[in-house]
């Protein structure tokens, strides 16, 4: 046997021993700045939950780390997906748990037990802009189903724990993209929506979308988790508020706005916002004064535009804490059709999770409704400061540690904290 062959055999033996010893260990997936790929780390946790493994989410511990038992094949999967991890023995993991659960630190352990069923509300039609949540889920390799108006109205929502809305217009104004009205994607979108409306007995898209919004609200009331971004946030509440009036200009639905629309708005119906005023001008790319719009020109610079996350008590406020887990407290701002929410229109019952400092603007908020919760995150794409129509989708391989995208993925794990059904 040649010297070279002996060298290879030795190496193989060392590798085998290392693998055997690792099986008796726990795996810590740190989520602080040492993590090589934060976004795939969420995918790994989701994958573990799908394998019926449990994972401990160590809130506020090293950026919201995950602790899992040395599940067979986990290390290889972590390596393949490029996720940084640390092998720790069971004694060390017990010490970490004890430290996290101690009263001295603002930390807590949340056991994740069930892989949530995720639905993304999006049309089959390909629209010329990216969807940050779809990108995040795809990149993290998290499984999800897509559904749209018909499936929601047919009652399919009850099969899901989590629903995401992104760049959607629940007011029935097709995103207020009037300038694109002669472009094929806009024509197709408008036609499909009108046909869908007619199928469900509505003469107008706005009525169809209202019905969808109300169905989603009922889903939340019964315990569903709703996460919305960009215009999926404010247009949702605007549609609910306008349930007994017409706020859609003739350019979108053929008849004018109700002259008494303002007095007929019903803010008791909304989830997060109140006392706002819809924008009735058809060509103004804005739905209401909820959105503060892009930062003022002096601040419209991605180098200086940022927002900050609030810190919550991990032991007493675990839900907001879960939603704000991150390795940084200050995040890059990003613009969308809805960029930030004006604080003045946020309901007092809503918890503000992140804000644009010194601007009275909220970036990220959370609230309860009935048995469920809703989370609204303003802006379009956390890694594309200004995403224009027709821009290519963001390549998340270039943003593996994106704090902005982490906030989206926190939301998918938050429903995983739900207890497994016990066998009786």
């Amino acid at each position: 046997m040649s010297l070279r062959s002996i060298r290879f055999l030795f190496l193989a033996a060392v590798l085998s021993l290392a693998t055997l010893s690792a099986r008796a260990q726990d795996i810590l997936i740190p989520m602080d700045i040492r993590q090589s790929n934060h976004l795939k780390a969420y995918g790994i946790v989701f994958w573990l939950l799908e394998q019926d493994e449990t994972v401990d989410w160590l809130l506020n511990y090293r950026g919201g780390s995950f602790l899992a038992s040395g599940f067979n094949g986990l290390e290889q999967e972590l390596q393949v997906r490029g996720v940084y991890f640390e092998r720790i023995d069971t004694g060390a993991s017990a010490r970490i748990i004890a430290e996290v659960e101690s009263e001295e630190h603002n930390t807590a352990v949340v056991r994740l037990e069930t892989a949530p069923n995720i639905a993304v509300y999006a049309p089959e039609q390909t629209l010329p802009w990216d969807d940050a949540v779809l990108l995040a889920l795809e990149y993290a390799e998290v499984t999800y189903d897509m559904l749209y108006d018909d499936k929601i109205l047919d009652g399919n929502l009850r099969e899901y724990d989590w629903l995401h809305l992104h760049h959607e217009d629940f007011t029935g104004q097709y995103g207020k993209f009037l300038q694109y009205r002669n472009v094929p994607w806009y024509i197709e979108q408008q036609r499909d929506t009108e046909q869908m409306a007619a199928r469900y007995g509505f003469r107008k898209a706005s009525r169809l979308k209202l019905e969808v919004a109300q169905t989603i609200k009922e889903y939340v009331r019964q315990g569903g988790f709703l996460f919305a971004m960009c215009s999926g946030t404010d247009t949702y509440d605007i549609a609910l508020a306008a349930h007994r009036t017409d706020i859609v200009p003739a350019e979108y639905d053929g008849d004018p706005v109700d002259p008494d629309a303002l007095s007929r708005l019903d803010f008791d119906m909304t989830l997060a916002f109140e006392n706002f005023t819809p924008v009735f001008h058809p060509a103004e790319y804005e739905h209401a004064n909820i959105d503060s719009g892009p930062p003022p020109p002096a601040l419209r610079n991605q180098a200086i535009d940022y927002f900050t996350l609030f810190e919550f008590s991990a032991k007493w406020d675990p839900v907001p804490t879960m939603l704000t887990q991150n390795h940084v407290a200050t995040l890059k701002g990003f613009i969308g059709q809805t960029t930030n929410f004006r604080k003045a229109f946020v309901k007092p019952s809503v918890v503000v999770l992140a804000e644009a400092p010194n601007r009275d603007e909220v970036k990220y908020l959370h609230g309860n409704f009935g048995e469920g919760t809703f989370t609204f995150y303003a802006g379009h794409d956390p890694e594309d400061y200004q995403h224009y129509v027709g821009d290519p989708p963001t390549d998340l391989d270039l943003h593996k540690n994106s704090p902005g995208y982490r906030l989206i993925l926190n939301n998918i794990l938050f429903p995983a904290a739900k207890k497994k059904k016990q066998k009786t």
């Binding site: 060298r7 290879f8 190496l11 390596q79 393949v80 490029g82 024509i187 197709e188 053929g254 058809p282």
Partner: protein
């Protein structure tokens, strides 16, 4: 005393507390007004003209405006600022005073509609209808009824409008526009079809109907209309393609349009415009086989110039549909040998085979170096040679000749033939791009032949003559390499410093790599013997003398096993062995680099290359995966880590 409405509004207007816009505001606002308001302004101007037929003068002899115009303007201003109640009050009074005035009527109706007072708007129209029963008024009434939610009544009224003059196309135009206003596209389609039969004009509203069908998703009908349009005038082909093309992104549009056009071509296979449209649709559907059939037919119908087939072949080649592209090129050459397109076809046919061969990694020699069949390279060579024989005076001649030279040099490794050809290009076609390239290639051949001085001279002349450009930068880099091969490391370094400064050029990365090699690997003796050995190996590889290159590398490794160049030399050894087809030896060489030089900058790359050799061989999938995993475990921060992850997932069939 009862004030008239006119008095009342004039008083309100003169009241300083009454909200008003100064006259200067109005034109400023108009800049941003929607079309409806702009039309209002035009109406207003017309109205001014109508009512001021006789100018009114005040006591001072100044011209005064008619008070009705002033009130009308005021109402218009109210409407624009959203003060509908005030506007309606004024307009109702104006209408009461002059019910025949069309501007008052129109504005009042608009105001009612703005506040959804549809009943009053309808009553206004009905009052006019009592005097005149026109399609315009009935359409207006129908539209208002539709907005009220009375769809059935609305459609009956539109039909009534049609019946006012059922044989007049203008009637249908009026009703059609009214239907479009409330997005009743499918009813509009039916109406236009009705217009055709009622007027006996089957071609009426052709373009309108086609577009209406497209936006309604009735793609089959749209295609049928466009076909009819083409039948009427085949000059509309570009227009039809652009109209149809904008909707082909919709998933059903392409299939539906294709089916309709296929049927049409079946009924009239000799109509050229239809067949060209069908060919284009097939290309859009990436069905190059059927597309070729259509373009072949079009060429036949056109009178045999081969132009359409040539264009199709280009498109198919760009899409990588090599077989169909090849078939089309061959057909042009066979059917139209004397056509103007023939020479370019032959040159393009050769170039296509070159691209095809490169894509599939065709090699004209087996692992032992014996010449084997390389169909695509052989085809390319044959095409170029035929070109030279048949078109000696064609403008592409120097370029094609140069391409043959490159083929001989790069693919068939026949430097003798290549040199002869390059010399011919330089001598016969001076001052052409092909001649510059040939001069550059001649210098490369001189390196291969070991004539470094000759090569140096040729590159130098080229640099002096051309002065700037990519070819010059490449020549400078090659000059630096020649200095390195000759052991003139200081001279080499001076030259790469110049190239390194031009970071925008393609060769700047190579220059930086060479610079680092020269900076880091001098010594330990005053003659830089290890680096000289390494340079010799590089030169031998360049000269396609793998055994000599291996000898130099092995000598370097045995004499200077601990020199800083050892890892690079071993990596070079792996590359030479792999190029020579000695894959197992190459694998072993690459695999031992991370064991022997774990801190080397080449360690992860060597592991990646080793894994790559395994993954290319059948039955060694698991070994390849293990090698990639080793790379991920031992070099997690490697630049190759992402690629290694992708390869693992591909090898285990993840489908990610």
């Amino acid at each position: 005393m009862k004030h008239t409405a006119q008095d009342r509004n004039i008083k309100r207007w003169s009241d300083p507390s009454f909200p008003r816009l100064c006259s200067a505001d109005i034109p400023m606002q108009c800049t941003f007004l929607p079309i409806r308001s702009w039309v209002g302004a035009v109406v207003l101007t017309a109205l001014t003209g109508a009512l001021t037929g006789a100018p009114v003068f005040d006591a001072a002899g100044q011209q005064q405006e008619n008070p009705q115009i002033v009130r009308f303007r005021l109402a218009d201003t109210f409407l624009r600022s959203g003060q509908f109640d005030q506007a309606i009050g004024l307009l109702e009074d104006l209408y009461e005073e002059a019910p025949q005035n069309d501007a008052f009527y129109q504005k009042l109706k608009e105001a009612y509609e703005n506040v959804k007072r549809y009943e009053e708007a309808a009553a206004l129209v009905k009052a006019r209808l009592a005097d005149t029963r026109s399609a315009t008024l009935l359409s207006d009434l129908a539209r208002i009824r539709y907005l009220q939610g009375n769809e059935q009544e609305a459609h009956a009224t539109w039909q009534e409008a049609v019946e006012t003059a059922p044989t007049d196309p203008n009637t249908y135009r009026v009703v059609y526009r009214s239907l479009l206003g409330v997005r009743q596209f499918e009813h509009a389609v039916l109406l236009l079809e009705q217009a055709r039969s009622a007027t006996g004009q089957p071609a009426l509203f052709r373009v309108e109907l086609a577009y209406l069908c497209s936006i309604s998703g009735l793609h089959e009908k749209a295609a049928a209309e466009y076909l009819a349009l083409l039948k009427e005038n085949d000059q509309h082909l570009s227009f039809v393609r652009s109209r149809l093309g904008s909707f082909l992104e919709e998933k059903e549009a392409l299939a539906s349009s294709l089916a309709v056009v296929q049927d049409a071509v079946r009924t009239d296979p000799l109509y050229r415009a239809w067949r060209e449209l069908l060919g284009w649709l097939y290309v859009e559907a990436e069905d190059f086989g059927n597309a070729l059939g259509e373009y072949r037919a079009v060429d036949g119908l056109e009178g045999g110039q081969g132009h359409m087939l040539f264009e199709f072949a280009h498109t198919a080649a760009d899409a990588g549909a090599w077989n169909k592209a090849s078939e089309a090129y061959r057909e042009v050459l066979a059917r139209y040998p004397d056509a103007p397109a023939a020479p370019r076809t032959l040159a393009a046919f050769g170039a296509m085979h070159m691209r095809w061969a490169a894509e599939i990694g065709e090699r004209p020699f087996d692992e032992s170096g014996d010449r084997i069949s390389a169909s695509h390279y052989d085809e390319a060579l044959a095409a170029y040679q035929t070109f030279l024989q048949q078109y000696p005076n064609h403008e592409l001649y120097p370029d094609v000749l140069h391409r043959i030279g490159r083929l001989q040099q790069d693919v068939f490794f026949d430097t003798g033939s290549a040199e002869t050809i390059f010399l011919q290009v330089v001598a016969a076609f001076p001052n052409t791009r092909a001649a510059d390239q040939a001069a550059f290639d001649l210098a490369g051949i001189a390196i291969i032949h070991g004539q470094l001085d000759d090569a140096r001279l040729r590159f130098g002349r080229l640099i002096e003559r051309l002065r700037t450009g990519d070819l010059v930068e490449q020549a400078r880099f090659n000059l630096a390499s020649i200095h390195m091969f000759a052991g003139e490391f200081d001279a080499a370094q001076s030259l790469v410093d110049v190239i390194d400064a031009h970071t925008s050029t393609d060769v700047s990365n190579d220059a930086i790599a060479l610079k680092i090699l020269l900076l880091e690997n001098r010594g330990p003796d005053s003659l830089d013997m290890p680096l000289r050995r390494y340079a010799s190996a590089l030169l031998a590889r360049e000269q396609r003398r793998p055994l000599a290159a291996l000898d130099s590398v092995d000598a370097l490794l045995s004499m200077y096993p601990s020199h800083a160049l050892a890892d690079e030399a071993r990596f070079l050894r792996g590359e030479i062995l792999r190029a020579a087809g000695r894959r197992q030896e190459a694998y072993e060489t690459f695999a031992e680099i991370p064991l022997m030089y774990p801190a080397s900058f080449l360690a992860d790359r060597a592991l990646f290359e080793a894994a790559g050799i395994l993954s290319d061989e059948s039955g060694r999938k698991e070994e390849a995966i293990a090698a990639y995993r080793r790379l991920l475990s031992e070099y997690p921060g490697s630049l190759f880590a992402d690629k290694a992850r992708d390869h693992i997932r591909r090898l285990r069939g993840d489908g990610v």
